[in-house]
Symmetry: D2
Amino acid sequence: MVDPENYSCLEACQACQVACLQCAAACLEEEDPGTMKDCIKLDLDCAAVCALAAEAMARDSDFVLAVCALCADICDACADECEQYDMEHCEACAESCRRCADACREMVGDVEEED
Amino acid sequence: MVDPENYSCLEACQACQVACLQCAAACLEEEDPGTMKDCIKLDLDCAAVCALAAEAMARDSDFVLAVCALCADICDACADECEQYDMEHCEACAESCRRCADACREMVGDVEEED
Amino acid sequence: MVDPENYSCLEACQACQVACLQCAAACLEEEDPGTMKDCIKLDLDCAAVCALAAEAMARDSDFVLAVCALCADICDACADECEQYDMEHCEACAESCRRCADACREMVGDVEEED
Amino acid sequence: MVDPENYSCLEACQACQVACLQCAAACLEEEDPGTMKDCIKLDLDCAAVCALAAEAMARDSDFVLAVCALCADICDACADECEQYDMEHCEACAESCRRCADACREMVGDVEEED
């Protein structure tokens, strides 16, 4: 079972995955999606690693630590990109990414302390 | 953007995916996992299709209808299996599967009515 | 174990997933990605369902039939879109999609005949 | 587009994902799946990260390096486990895992040299 205190990280990953997929879809609908291509690419990267991290936590994988560390890095890169734009979907995505990066780093720290 | 009224379906799919992955992991830790092999198999099927459905909704895919219809069928099959057992993880999974099946069918109905 | 005669379908799904992801990435790098947004969207839909189908076959899921039927439909939709463009990545993607749709339909037919 | 010399890594990841999912499914069908639970768990971890790595390469992600490094570690852990058993599915899985770990490490090395 997922450790109850890790639920918040799992939920942050799921929320971030959705925000990234929504941001990518919305970027494609912007007037000039070419200006958003780096954002779309990072959104897809971030959504994919968030999905992996959420799955790893749900399955109580032995690799949660390593997956969450990678997830935090990609979330930060995606947030850095999204923060450059003032569309609502980018702002919402950047916020979700920062929250997810924080939750992942907190979990990595918690696990390391337990060791 | 995800239609606000469809958020509940997306969230039901995400919750069901997690419940299925947790159930599979917990079944493996039971004293005799061999008795739970059909449940584990269905859990993995159900988790995978729930992930696809959640992603399709988040990306506002044109195939949400077809994906949710398939998701509802697999959720029901997984619920039918889990309901045979009285472990907490199976009961929780069966409930999540029924809720997700209902949400998917409601969405299929809503979309069909709009057409 | 995957039925040896079904390996060709599994491989067609994996090849199609890759072709779709490559096509989506290449469309984003085109001069005006806005003209390719429907193609990108379908590429992502198709890649996701191909991944599900390949996984279902590898796990010898009881839902291979239903998943492959859905996969064939989405592959055809993606091929229809990609065939409208003369970029190499779209042509390669359309071919992979048709091959995957055929393989999935053949498998659905084979399974139905066995029943 | 995927760099042609990286195709072999992408294909190794896809082959490893399939071998892991097949091994997990076959382990569940063994007489006493309880003795194989660590193997099943690692198979699912490994399949998931191989899927992420293959997707990252197909999309020409900027995070291929980090994802492949993680993939190599999980592949080795899965191979270490599978090598303890003499079932054909475990032997095949261990081989696929080693091949994938090597391909991922080679790619990480190649990318690092380019930098």
